[in-house]
Amino acid sequence: MTSETEAKPDSRLKVKIGTVELENPTILASGVLGVAAGGLISASNFGAGAVVTKTVGWKPRSGHPGPRVVGLHGDSMMNAMGIPNPGIRDYIPEIKAVVKQEIPVIGSALGTSPKEFARVATHLAKAGVSAVELNISCPHVGSLYLLGMDPDAVAEVVSEVVEQTEKQVPIWVKLPGSTDYPRLIQVAKAAQTAGAAALVALNTLPALAIDVDARRPLLGAGIGGLSGPAIKPIALRAVWELHNAGMNIPIIGVGGILTGQDAIEYLLAGATAVEIGTGVLTRGRAIFSKVCNEIGVYLTEYNIKHVSELTGQMAKFEVNS
């Protein structure tokens, strides 16, 4: 139905995030295209190495009133979808339709308590997802963001999920969009200790945009989450901080990736793979194959055999005072 370019496989791009093997390191981020199986399948057809589902909870959520998205300067945007989702039971058929096509699916889970997180994760695991990504960090669902900034609460959620899913599926933790590094690293360490298999950094950043004519926030929920190029330098810093903290855990970088070059920055900072959300708007769904091709050109230019050789290979430096 569309003329966007198709993906070409390139064995240099295969990555392993813990036990999860992907054809390439580009992953569709949660909340983008993911309401329907077809959206997830299309991202895979356009080259994504894996797809993250829309965040799904136990009960249905209608999400926030509109406006739910607004474009900002420089290809960035804000959203306050409010995590609409039909609840895990009605979402399972969508996931199964994708899993059936042998596409690696990462199930994004939300809960109002550790038990509920675990219940959702268990259903996701049964549906055949390759990993579960815990959304403890949505900035326009206030309770989640606060949860994600609290190391003890995060540990509790992760432990419960790991226990209930009985290690059938790796648990990834998606960190909040925050610049508070001491805390972010505490949260990350708490998650790792509790059994997380990978860290995803970052979710959108809490933000506000105002319409000066209406004299109201431009989003129905008031507060929204900032995504796109605006947050890349912040998320990249977070990935580097996490990498530098010496935890031995895979990191997935996310925030503002538009080009292969952006993705390589994340890899150099310490990421094993990347997720792409807003870029789907800027470059179309073919962004996945485009980014992969651009990474391929770079590997060729510098005669690098495999993309994993880039992870964490930025020159060391000391933070000044």
Binding site: A43, P67, G220, Q261, R283
Partner: protein, 296 residues
């Protein structure tokens, strides 16, 4: 590799689709007992919109909802849409007064494609119930381009016939249908379309909008004729720009807000068309002709 590779913009990213223009409502007209037409000055939308495209209408303090563009006055930069009162946001819209501020984001989506030549036969335009707005715009556009246009317009009852006068002013032939027979033939807009086809089936194309049940009957009717059919679909829309995936109708990821809302009926065969719709949570619900908000 440096500096950053220039990113070619996705044509989908329409300049004004990402941010609302907030403007005072210029004029409000009650066009049927349940429907009001609203006009606003939004020059950029008026200049670029084509029939079948829609706008996201921001009703401050309530919601942002999709509305087909029902007319533009390009020279004055004016855009019109017509909203039926069906729920909270549309009720709030109906309470608004001229001069109140609303936001428009768009034009969004792909509109109708008109036959290149006006010599291949007249156009058949079919509007059922609340489906009139894009069809009224399409009719005016086609007539201005020199097409002969025949209209099939349906509603439950006479007073609900939306934009009847505009159709009668513009189109060469209009056949009316009402469920209760209070005007025109008794039946639906599809019956009215069949009437047109019975007279002379040499149409170059058929453009239609209305409840999905009506659109599926129309598609069935037209499968007997070599007339390409384009229909405008309605799906729950959250972003309107192809990002969130809420309006996807098939396993290829076809998005009604971006690749639609107007589709060639052939393309809809392997989709949810006529079968399922999503509610605000993303849950799929069967399409049941009887629960459509505007019959026709």
């Amino acid at each position: 590799m440096t500096p950053n590779k220039t990113v070619k913009k996705n044509p989908a990213k329409l300049a004004h689709g990402l941010r609302p223009f907030v403007k005072p409502i210029q004029q409000i007209r009650q066009v049927t007992p349940r429907t009001k037409a609203f006009t606003l000055k939004a020059t950029n939308i008026a200049r670029t919109a084509v029939p079948g495209q829609f706008v996201m209408v921001w009703i401050p303090g309530f919601d942002e909802i999709p509305m087909s563009i029902s007319a533009v006055q390009n020279s004055l930069g004016i855009v019109e849409f017509a909203a039926a009162k069906v729920g909270e946001a549309t009720a709030a819209l109906h309470r608004m007064k001229e001069g109140d501020l609303i936001g428009l984001r768009g034009p969004l989506g792909q509109g109708f494609k008109f036959p290149r030549s006006i010599d291949k036969g007249p156009l058949l335009c079919v509007a059922g119930g609340c489906g009139s707005p894009p069809i009224a715009f399409a009719t005016e556009w086609a007539v201005r381009k020199g097409h002969e246009v025949h209209v099939a317009l349906g509603a439950t009852t006479r007073s609900d016939l939306l934009f009847q006068e505009r159709f009668e002013e513009q189109a060469q032939k209009v056949i009316i249908a009402t469920d209760d027979g209070s005007d025109g033939i008794q039946g639906t807009s599809v019956n009215a379309a069949a009437f047109h086809l019975d007279i002379d089936p040499r149409y170059s194309a058929c453009l239609a909008c209305g409840p999905e049940g009506m659109l599926t009957s129309l598609a069935e009717l037209l499968s007997n004729y070599p007339i390409p059919l384009q229909v405008s679909l309605e799906r729950y829309m959250k972003c309107g720009i192809g990002l969130c995936g809420h309006c996807i109708i098939d396993n290829h990821g076809t998005r009604v807000c971006l690749e639609g809302p107007v589709f060639d009926a052939k393309i809809l065969r392997q989709t949810d068309f006529g079968q399922w719709k999503r509610d605000s949570t993303g849950k799929r619900l069967p399409i049941d002709a009887s629960d459509e908000s505007c019959e026709g």
